[in-house]
Amino acid sequence: MFAWSSWKEIPMKDRSLFGIILFSMFLPGLFGQAPHFVTHPLPYEGGRIDLLFQENRGFILAGTSRGLFSFDGRNWSVITQSDSNSTKSVSAIWQDQDNRLWVGYKSGNIDIVAGGKTETFQPEEGTPVVPITGILRDKNGILWISTYGEGVYYYQNERLYLIDTDDGLPDNDVYVIMMDEEGRVWAGTDRGIGICSLEDGKKKVEVLSTKNGLPDNIVREISRDDLGNMWIGMYDGGIARYDLSKKEFISGGSWEYGAVTSILPLKDKIWIGTENSDIVLLEDSQPYRKIEAGQFQVYDILADKEGNIWISDHLNGLRSALRTLSFVPVDERIRSVHAGTSDRIWFSTAKGVYVFHRHTGQTDTMVTNLADVVVSMYEDPYGYLWMGSIGEGVWRMNIKDRSIRHFTEASGLVNNHVVSIDGDGKYIWFATFGGISRCQASGSGQIQFEQFTRKDGLSTEYIYQVKAGENGNAWFAMDGHGISIIENNRIRQLDELKDVTVFSMADDQAGSVWYNTEGQGIGRISLGNGDKSETELGISGEQALSIASLSRQLLLVVYPDYLGILNSSSGRMIRLGEEVGINNLGEDLNVVDQDAGGMVWIGGEDALVCYAPVRESILSTPLTCITSVNIYLENIGDEDPMELPYDRNHLSFNYTGLWYQAPLGVSYQHRLKGYDIDWVDSRNDQAIYPNLSPGTYTFELRSSANGDFSNVPVSSYSFRILKPFWEQWWFFLISILAGILIAYFWIKNREKRLRITERLEKENIESQFETLKSQINPHFLFNSFNTLISIIENDQETAVEYVERLSDFFRNILVYRHQTVIPLNEELELFENFYFLQKHRYGDNLFLNNNLDPSLAGSHTIPPLTLQLLVENALKHNIISKSKPLTVDIESDGKGYLLVRNNLQKRRDEVPSTQVGLQNIINRYRLLSDMEVRIEITRTHFQVYVPLLKKE
């Protein structure tokens, strides 16, 4: 942290003086050093963003009066939105460890958003009815919710408890809550800060107010920095820091910028948003500094993971800028830059030499009437600025009184083309196109130049750059001969680079020196092993103008159109180009210098560019995230890992690589492991895989801001497409089992059928036998012949018919006996013959009533000779005489049975029945139908029901 105490050391009077100087420069156009802001569209026209938040995947979220929106650098999408039922004016955003977003609204409602689904937080006690101003969870897992009007709630074991003025909270209008390092919750109100905690389950509120040194009781904002300090933003009192160890407030000094709306305490500077003076910066031990001459309200400030600062304000809507870069506009091409002492940055143009004061943001003209353009500068410890030219030697200016002395070859300088000057406090070194000069730095007027040329062992006198070392030595970048070192007046050349043109060198302060070559890229020499040096050449191909070391790993490389931040361990380079405000850095070599604070100052065509490394770790590659997985273009949500049926095999992936500083430059590579052989290059934000065959797949995605995908983190999504059911093992098993079963039952059935057929055949044979037996029965023949004889005598024609019928009768028996069933009408015809014969025998003693419906007879079948057998039975067992005629009825009972009935008049000489005929009928029907043959014997009638069989 910077030296805050230095505040106290500046007397009040001086501070106000500072203010005046500061104010004088806040005229439009004269603004000193400002980031390059890019304005973004708003989620909806005419809207404003009240809250900014970066969620864990990297998306920038915006809380507005219409709902919560998410920004990917190009487009906004809705997360929660007002509808006719609810007004979703967002007043608090927070994300828990499970990546669930908690969104608080002015209505008092809270939504929980997870996996694309929104739930409403509904504690049993009900939700507040005043605006939610903050949500957080403490170390014990207790959820804290602050409100504007009801105080602070905490939610523990699914119960909601309230802490308000009755519990000692200074006021129920809570603007903000923030957790301190001890897990206590600080609530900012109009009457000071209430520090809420639970001790043994009991509410405890400690109050910090003006009595404790708080500059103002109206606390609008509380932030916590990396070190655990609490930063307080007030309505009238500016900002203050609470030192937890000393337990006291340290005021940020006099404040003239009105109410504070937001504080972003970063390591290098504190960003302060105000209600009507836009952004104020607090940097190191410097006074407050405004970045623009505005008078507008700042709603919120956010620092994202890639080093951008985001500002939502009343005038500009939403803006972002890379924190590392800032620009001092200059109306001419800068030819040389030197970072001097007291935060003075010297720079020269074709018109003269100028100084930029970092403290005040002011630029002063130093000298404009020199005979030539200054191309090299160095400020020595005695208050002189040395200025080198090409052709006119060097000038030395007394910075205080601006008096100038001129030194040329005539004064003993080795050459008048002085391209680089450097010093170590004792010596000042001059690199020229004619060798090297050195003089003692001193406050006196006497200047004596020493010379180092070819004669002294220099391999070339064409020197591009000098860097003074710590022990009186100096390094020289030389044309065609690499690097030479002068130690103890002895010249030593680095052998490894003796054929290389070196333009510039940069010490990383960790035992290595970087160097920039002509056409052979950038290299590094490790100085670890005494004289022995290692080199790595050609890290980057493009011709760089100059280099500066940012850290052991990071190197800043200046190219004509962009700055490169090269990570030597990963080999990755971030390009900072047009998108972040870098347009034209000219063509001159080495117009770069680094100040004591590590900031690099680069002279460009129209600006002095400052690169300030941030102390937080920032991303060097886009945040890659698969935003949705779709099947047949339908989002499937958050199921992971996933198994899909064989026919849901049209997959597409939507993804994004978040790189807010240059969103249009992001390119992607993706592959589907199990399908693609190699990575597929893409600039789309969707990959589609139709018709995937069953198998296991992993979709892998990586994104890059500069087309370099080496060592880039990969996002992935694994899934499996199952085999169709007919290729599953269980299906095989079931099929085989089913096959076996079917075969088994078929065989079984066949056996049964065979058995039935066998029995039917047997019954048939029996029936035939029975029939034949009865027909060939001599009794029947005898009776028939007797009948015939009596007919022949009376009526010969009838006799002929009788014989024909008799012969038909026998033929029919022969024809039908082999058949199982015959149509009922055929059976009736057959029966007709039999009846004709019997009728002639019994005459009027026998009656037959056929009441069968002819259509029924046509559509049903019957085992052959059944009717004949039944009637024969009746004839056999009953008296048939004139006084007792026998009547046989054939009819349908309407319930599927054929009914054969006769009046019962048993013969006395009853021949004992063998029941063979009837039993045969019953047996045959058992094989043919489910319905049984029924026999009913009443007092008057004997009736047999045989099932009517449907014609097949």
Binding site: S91, G134, Y148, G149, Y175, V176, R191, Y235, Q297, D300
Partner: protein, 195 residues
């Protein structure tokens, strides 16, 4: 933290409206009131300076609750540069038939000992309602407490946009987006015998 369009202090509002009535009926001590407070406003636009004033600001401060309520009839403003201007002010900008009153009601943030004579710098937080649009505001005031009397002096700004007062483009150079308001009022303690 962030700006809230204030709708929520209904309770506070109720208390502010009811307290004076209740107090006047029951004659509780510590109620300070006036009906002749002075309000001046100034619109300093590039092409025209407009000033108007009224001395009919009604105000009540309840010292027991540290609460206040002020209101003024829009039509009571006099001054302006012409009669036509006044007409425009009432009819076009303020729509004083629809929204006849402007008011400011709320609580004083600072704790004040009303028995202690002296000068105080206070901030009043409340709902400022102009043109029918309410905004929560914190307004700084100088407060002078004397025996039985409170004097309030306050300067603040009102943004036309905050209260949806729209100005035709044609006259935008003549009317400032930001109106400066000065308020001065002397509130006298109500006599308990007064009914």
């Amino acid at each position: 933290m962030k700006n809230f369009s204030a709708i929520h202090i209904t309770g506070l509002l109720m208390c502010c409206l009811i307290v004076p009535v209740w107090a006047s009926v029951h004659g509780v001590k510590g109620i300070f009131a006036t009906t002749t407070g002075k309000v001046e406003f100034k619109s300093d636009a590039p092409l025209e300076l407009i000033e108007a004033a009224s001395d009919r600001l009604k105000g009540v401060i309840d010292s027991n609750k540290n609460a206040f309520a002020f209101s003024i009839q829009i039509t009571s403003f006099q001054g302006f540069n012409s009669a036509l201007q006044k007409e425009h002010f009432n009819e076009k900008f303020m729509e004083s038939e629809l929204h006849p009153e402007a008011s400011f009601q709320g609580k004083i943030i600072e704790d004040i000992d009303y028995n202690e004579i002296g000068y105080y710098k206070v901030r009043a937080k409340g709902i400022l309602s102009i043109h029918g649009v309410s905004q929560e505001r914190i307004i700084r005031s100088d407060m002078h407490i004397e025996e039985g009397k409170i004097t309030i002096d306050s300067d603040f700004k009102v943004l036309l946009a905050d209260h949806r007062i729209s100005i035709p483009k044609i006259v935008s150079q003549k009317i400032s987006e930001e109106i400066q308001v000065h308020v001065r009022l002397e509130l006298l303690e109500r006599n308990t015998n007064e009914r």
